[in-house]
């Protein structure tokens, strides 16, 4: 059973890996698009990934945020993600390069800008997509990260404290702007970047 799982995973993850590498290469967006079109045209079968493909990765199962991460790849209501969607999600984690900072000021913000990275993380908290992290949503995340040993009141007081610290407009929830402000000291560019060395 494990062997077959692993072999299935090996089938999935080279795909995933190679897709990810394409994303990370400093080629221009246009080239990437051309590549992806070629890819899709030539390998239709592997062009779609489902949730099960992700769930086969064993480490994600023990990751407390595993389900949410998987859901982040799939857009609303869809059960399958194509290469484009996959790439969009992973592009958030490309390291910010210096030469990108100066050019293209007028164009749309690249996906791996600091703001978009933080927005990605914010969306993982905010399940109901109301642009606020409410106390319940925070509690859910805390519960996932902390485990089962801690009582609800304790988690509640931690959540209260967290919201109280971050909240500036008094709505007892963390909006995106407050989220950004709280994390201003954290080096998000470094933390939320993956260097694809292959």
């Amino acid at each position: 059973m494990r062997k077959s799982k692993r072999s299935r995973r090996r089938r999935a993850s080279p795909t995933v890996r190679s897709l990810a590498c394409t994303v990370a290469s400093p080629a221009s967006t246009k080239a990437k698009m051309a590549l992806l079109d070629l890819f899709i045209r030539t390998c239709c079968i592997l062009a779609l990934l489902s949730r099960e493909d992700f769930q086969r990765i064993p480490e994600l199962a023990i990751n407390p945020l595993g389900d949410r991460i998987i859901n982040a790849f799939f857009s609303e209501g869809e059960d399958q993600v194509n290469f484009r969607g996959f790439m969009r999600t992973l592009a958030h984690f490309r390291p910010i390069e210096d030469n990108e900072k100066s050019k293209d000021q007028n164009g749309p913000e690249p996906l791996n800008s600091r703001s978009n990275k933080l927005h990605f993380a914010f969306r993982l908290y905010d399940l109901d997509k109301d642009d606020k992290i409410s106390r319940d949503e925070l509690l859910q995340v805390l519960r996932m990260m902390v485990g089962v040993n801690i009582s609800d009141e304790q988690l509640g007081s931690i959540a209260d404290r967290t919201i109280q610290e971050a909240d500036q407009d008094g709505d007892c929830a963390i909006s995106f702007a407050e989220f950004v402000k709280v994390l201003e000291k954290v080096d998000v560019e470094q933390k939320m970047s993956i260097r694809f060395l292959h």
């Binding site: 984690f93 007081s157 260097r195």
Partner: protein, 803 residues
């Protein structure tokens, strides 16, 4: 030799220190073990002739009499019984050591008084100047000033500084930049050593007759000695300029890790200097020995760290000596590594890093504070002494000044450093996500200070193989002076000029902690999806392994299961509670805090902008009645003081009361949703509270490491509650209710039970130890000392809540 050495250790200690002191002692030279110069052991009656005056000890007059009788054979006129005498030689060594240390401390104090000078000149420079003055003074008096002996330096002065650095190493930044640090430390130092050695050899060859005889190996040895960035100097200078954490950890980490390289190169070239010919085999062996030295050092450190962590698991009954375990095990790690010529510094750092998370989870908070303060104290004194002695040794040593050699050394040191940093940064930036900007590179290059390690290493060379030692010493001292004075003094204005990012002083908030962990998990997940085993993946694996196996072995009791987030949160709450006690009590709670607790019950009520509303008269009376009646039940039980337990602190009791009050109010509030109730404002100024305010060192009192207790302590501060609900007699804290008020549950330390009942609320004069609630006695034990907490950062001020 070993057994004899052990027996002779206390004597050897003093004998080693003997030559340190001025006087008619032996001349300072490069011997490792100095011969005993003064043959008089203590209390020997034969010392009569040496000691000019009669001794003050009672033994002596009698012996003297006896001796006189037996020796002389005819009765001498009896000397009068000496009421007062002088015997300086008896205490000479400890006295002089204490004098030196006292001098160092007074200097430190003096610099802070002269704040105008210390703003411009870093402390290390001032200390060297003081050393020069003292050395000059001693020389002027006619005595020979002591030179900083290498043994004393390496065995006594250096370890506290390194242990302090290693124990409080900011591990997150260190591991994130480990690759960069290693490259700078290893490749950078190697480059420096060979570049400098080679160039100095060239200079020596063309330098004229005075220098021709210095061979390549000697030059390479010189290069390896002087190329190492010195942790002491870096710490001393960088500490004052508050540079951002990345640069600090890069330069500082480099200075720590290059010890392995320095040790290897030093021993290598020292050995090779004796050989006729250096073969390839020797070079290969040298290369291998680098790995042995560094990895061996780390291994020794890890072993001792694990043993220390394991020992700390069982120290719950002997809290008083807990800090000693930390110090001893680390020091033993250092010494053990030194036995095998492994890198002692790396052993020390590894042991500090490994033992810290587990020890901190096991020891009491008081022990933690003790460790912190002792380490800071020792390292501070050590550093001061080192710099003073550098100054004194400059005056005392024999110098051989050779313009060519010294100037070219200085020049090439700087060039080598700059070139090395530039080339390595170019290489490293290919792999870094956050690149090192040219400003960063400049600071890294400029921060390459040399210090006392180079001096001591050179001092260790023996004359017979290296007769140019004096010239080396002179050159090294010049480089040290230049780096410390010129670079040390100018780095601060340069940092300001270049607008280098400074250190962020604020404390890590709970938000940051939560979100950072969140991002860790997120990134681990993404990495797993990509199949890319990066930094997060391995960190996650290590954490899991740690949680599953290691923590269970090394951490006592319930704490092994406590998630890091919870520990962090409790620590924050503790600090703020103490802060509240210190700042004068509950009356000053900012409105935002009450807002949070309000929102749980009545979202409609808006918080006042200022203090909570005052108590009405009859509510107050009711409270007092309740308190009085309940307090009658409690009895004071104060354990007698003995050396094995720590007497409870009066502040602790007050703090306990505060927490109890808060917790009571919170619980009551949850049951009833009503108007505010506060502690009457005038309670703030009770003597106890003002004493608490004056108290300088807040010692946190942790709850018992019991998961049921935890919810209670962490409740938000005083929140609205109705007077009726304040039925203190019936309310039992949730978790504490389970604990019987039995003395054996208690750790030593915070044993103070509530004292005899006084009227708690009436005159608002709290005598220390008064408790105003019955269950506070149970609470006291819950809050008694043993709770360990991880300290996320060290030395940070407590932040006031909600401000």
């Amino acid at each position: 030799m070993g057994a004899a050495a052990l027996r002779a250790l206390p004597w050897a200690l003093l004998l080693l220190l003997g030559p340190l002191l001025p006087g008619q002692r032996l001349q300072a030279d490069a011997t490792r073990v100095s011969e005993p110069t003064w043959e008089q052991p203590w209390g020997e009656p034969g010392g009569i002739t040496a000691a000019p005056l009669a001794t003050a000890q009672e033994v002596h007059p009698l012996n003297k009499q006896h001796h006189n009788h037996s020796a002389e054979g005819h009765p001498k006129p009896r000397k009068a019984f000496p009421v007062l005498g002088i015997d300086y030689s008896h205490v000479r060594i400890p006295f002089e050591i204490s004098l030196w240390i006292l001098l160092a401390c007074l200097m430190k104090m003096g610099f802070h008084v002269m704040s105008s000078v210390s703003k411009v000149v870093p402390e290390s420079c001032l200390l060297i100047v003081v050393g020069l003055l003292v050395g000059g003074l001693i020389k002027a008096v006619g005595e020979k000033p002591p030179i900083l002996k290498s043994d004393i330096f390496f065995l006594f002065l250096l370890p506290p500084i390194i242990l302090d650095a290693g124990y409080f190493l900011p591990l997150r930044q260190f591991t994130e930049n480990l690759g960069t640090i290693l490259i700078f430390a290893v490749v950078g130092t190697l480059w420096n050593a060979f570049f400098l050695g080679g160039l100095m050899y060239a200079v020596c060859q063309i330098g004229g007759s005075g220098l021709n005889h210095i061979g390549l190996l000697a030059n390479l040895l010189f290069g390896s000695i002087i190329s190492a960035v010195d942790p002491v100097a870096v710490l001393a200078v960088f500490e004052e300029i508050h540079i951002n954490e990345l640069l600090h950890i890069l330069v500082f980490g480099e200075s720590l890790l290059n010890d392995a390289v320095t040790v290897v190169l030093y021993h290598l070239f020292e050995e090779f200097a004796n050989f006729e010919q250096v073969t390839i085999i020797d070079m290969v062996l040298g290369f291998l020995s680098f790995f042995v030295v560094s990895l061996g050092g780390v291994f020794v450190g890890v072993i001792y760290g694990l043993i220390a962590a394991f020992t700390s698991r069982f120290t719950s009954n002997i809290r008083v000596i807990e800090p000693l375990f930390v110090f001893l095990y680390s020091y033993m790690a250092y010494l053990s590594a030194e036995i095998f010529h492994l890198s002692g510094i790396m052993a020390l750092i590894a042991s500090g890093v490994v033992m810290r998370p587990y020890v901190e989870a096991n020891i009491s908070h008081k022990s933690h504070t003790t460790i912190k303060y002792f380490l800071k104290m020792w390292s501070s004194v050590s550093e001061t002494l080192i710099f003073i002695f550098l100054g004194v040794s400059t005056v005392a040593g024999q110098h051989y000044w050779n313009w060519t050699f010294v100037i070219s050394t200085l020049l090439f040191c700087l060039i080598a450093r700059v070139l090395g940093v530039l080339v390595l940064t170019w290489f490293i930036n290919k792999f870094r996500i956050v690149k090192l900007t040219p400003k960063d590179q400049f600071i890294i290059a400029y921060g390459g200070l040399r210090g006392a390690i180079a001096f001591s290493l050179c001092y260790l060379l023996d004359y017979e193989h290296f007769n140019m030692r004096d010239m080396f010493l002179t050159a090294i001292i010049t480089v040290i002076f230049f780096t410390v004075f010129v670079q040390g003094m100018t780095i601060r204005p340069l940092v300001d000029l270049l607008a280098v990012k400074k250190k962020q002083e604020t404390k890590r908030s709970i938000n940051e902690e939560i979100h950072t962990q969140f991002l860790d998990h997120l990134l681990t997940g993404i990495e797993d999806i990509c199949g890319h085993y990066g930094h997060h993946h391995w960190k996650d694996k290590l954490n899991r392994f740690n949680k599953k196996y290691v923590k269970k072995c090394l951490i006592a009791g319930e704490r092994s299961k406590e998630p890091q987030l919870i520990a962090f949160y409790h620590k924050m709450e503790m600090k703020q509670a103490i802060e509240l006690v210190e700042s004068g009590g509950l009356g000053k709670i900012p409105s935002t805090i009450s807002a949070v607790s309000i929102q749980n019950i009545s979202p409609k009520t808006l918080p006042d902008s200022n203090a909570l509303s005052a108590l009405s008269k009859d509510k107050e009376d009711e409270i007092r009645k309740i308190l009085r009646s309940n307090l009658q039940k409690t009895r004071q039980r104060l354990r007698s003081y003995n050396r094995h337990t720590l007497v409870a602190d009066p502040y602790e009791d007050v703090w306990n009361q505060m927490l109890m009050k808060r917790q009571k109010m919170q619980q009551a509030e949850l049951q009833l949703q009503n108007a505010y109730l506060t502690v009457p404002a005038n309670r703030i100024d009770s003597p106890t509270m003002s004493r608490a305010r004056i108290g300088s060192d807040p010692l946190a009192y942790e709850p018992k490491p019991d998961s049921e207790n935890l919810p209670i302590i962490t409740i938000d501060p005083a929140s609205p509650q109705s007077p009726e609900s304040m039925d203190l007699s019936n309310e039992v804290p949730k978790g504490c209710g389970g604990l019987p008020p039995s003395p054996e549950e208690d750790e030593e330390g915070l044993v103070m039970r509530p004292k005899e009942p006084s009227s708690p609320g009436t005159d608002d004069v709290f005598t220390p130890g008064t408790s105003d609630s019955p269950s506070s006695q149970r609470m006291l034990r819950c809050l008694s000392d043993p709770g360990p907490r991880q300290e996320p950062e060290e030395g940070e001020p407590f932040i006031p809540k909600g401000q």
